[in-house]
Amino acid sequence: MAARVGIVGIGHTVFGNLSEYDLADIMAYAATDALKDAGFLDRRKEIDQVLVANMASGMLCHQSAVASALVSRMDMEPVPAELVENGPASGASAVKLGYMAVASGLADLTLVVGGEVMRRVTGWNATDIVATMLDTDTEYNMGLTLPGFGGMFTRLYMEKYGMEERDLALLAVKNHDNGFKNTYAHIRAKCTIEAIADGPEAAVVNNYVAEPLRMYSTCPVSDGGAALLLVNMDAPIAKEFPKKPIRIAAVASATDTHCVHNRKDPLELNAVRIAAEKAYKMAGIGPEDIDFAELHDAFSILELAISEEVGFFERGKSYLAARKGETAIDGTLPINTSGGLKSKGHPVGCTGVSQVVELVRQLRGEAEEGRQVKDPKYGMSVNFGGFGNNVASVICAKD
């Protein structure tokens, strides 16, 4: 029988422009914070496995094999370390593989570290590098980018369900409000609906990026690191940690067609739905049991679409719930309490780990004042790779 896996340490750097720092240092900073949180820094060599989540260090910082660099940066030789890469879903995939390592009985203590430095290259180069995850012949070569697919998806959604651009702006207001209170967020600046949607200057202040997506509906380009210490809750070592472990109730992932044009229904995010179904099954719960969620809003439309695919809202209706404030911090189902990718930032390979750090902070009751969910029991994260062709999900529980 597989062992239960829990999180006993979390670490997170500030997200933003950290391009003057080395990627391995950024990851080591988050990782040592996680070890300090677990009271385990001086025993770090007892860790059985290090898994590093990173998407594109080769292209973004001209560095490869960063897992090996991290181990030395933390003076942790000879601990085994490998890189986990799944595009922007690298983070949650690393958590999933970390879970599998611990549950298998082969690695009672597994350190999962995510990191990405994107701002050493120009914005045009970062856009190009991120676009390499698309299908080369049929998508990348056309000049398409991730925001391009975000825009096309948003248009379809708007035309089918009657959502307006203003509904996406409402999400920015909510997420910036949450991120403003998050010590680690990249953008800590509130925005108003008048300024970015209703007012006479909104069209220029909140300019189009990939119509109908606007600047305040697309996440920033960020650097940052995050880390989690996973433990086998059924092993003796589990008793040696000061903080009660937050149990990982489920990890799951699924794939969909690589070419977006080959999706049967372009508005259906099958990989999200299947990953969520598998996660619910593993955790023995349903969507109604989730108290709060971190949903991958690289484009604000994804916060809405993902929330429907995982069963929080009926298809096409999530924007109505957002209008009523149901997904705000004091709503019935808070979404992106951290500020989401929009405000917290999106160092691509790191995001999935950062999302789980937020799940733990909320479940422990350690979130900053004004953005702490009241008594949550289950939190869920969805980490969206490619344009939905590889999605991983994590559910954490406070027992």
Binding site: T122, G123, W124, I187, A189, K190, C191, T192, E194, A195, I196, G199, P200, E201, A202, A203, V204, V205, N206, N207, Y208, Y216
Partner: protein, 228 residues
Amino acid sequence: MAIDEMERSLRPPADELKPYPPKVITLASGEKMVVREAKREEIGVLLGTVHPLMGVPKDFYDIVAARMYAELLGWYRYRVANEFVLVGAIDGEIAGLVNSRQVSPQLGMSLHTLTIRRGLRIGAQLFAAKMEHHIDVLGEDEVWVVAESPIGFKRWMIEYQLEDRSSRYPDVRHELGGVPTYVLTRELWNAARDVKCTGTRPASDEDLKSAEKLTMPTEYVQIPDFKR
């Protein structure tokens, strides 16, 4: 000062440029930025605003601030012809400045853009306001543009599709360093105006009053432990 003959000979001819009609832009944060022309009497706060950034090498702040400081003094002391200065002020505090000059009624020479409050696209708004003044208010046919920052300049090149006249160097060269230049023509500005330029006019009395007395910024994100 008394304008004797010597002083007069050192001054440029006194062309009166049409004033820039103030406007208000509600920034994403909800704060209102008044964009208005600066007056010579305000030179103290303008210089004081720009000065600290002369010590920031990152993002080319040092050279832009140093050159702008000199250009502001040149304007103040009547040693530069037909220069104008626009400021963006939030509750009177200067958030950004742009300066430029008219070479002839047909030609503008864009000088500098300096942003103090970051993260709100203030630089982009003020650059657009500068072009609005050159072409829509002063009626010039084109404006010559260069920049210190390659990334900043590439953004303008792409977003405005600036006409590349670098091949006509040295006959066509920008005053700033005498370097090859790019040009914003009226046609290009007409194609970009709706996307790049915004603002509510006329500015309300309340908004104008808030920007009547300009103040220097109390903090600079570019200078972490700044104290005035």
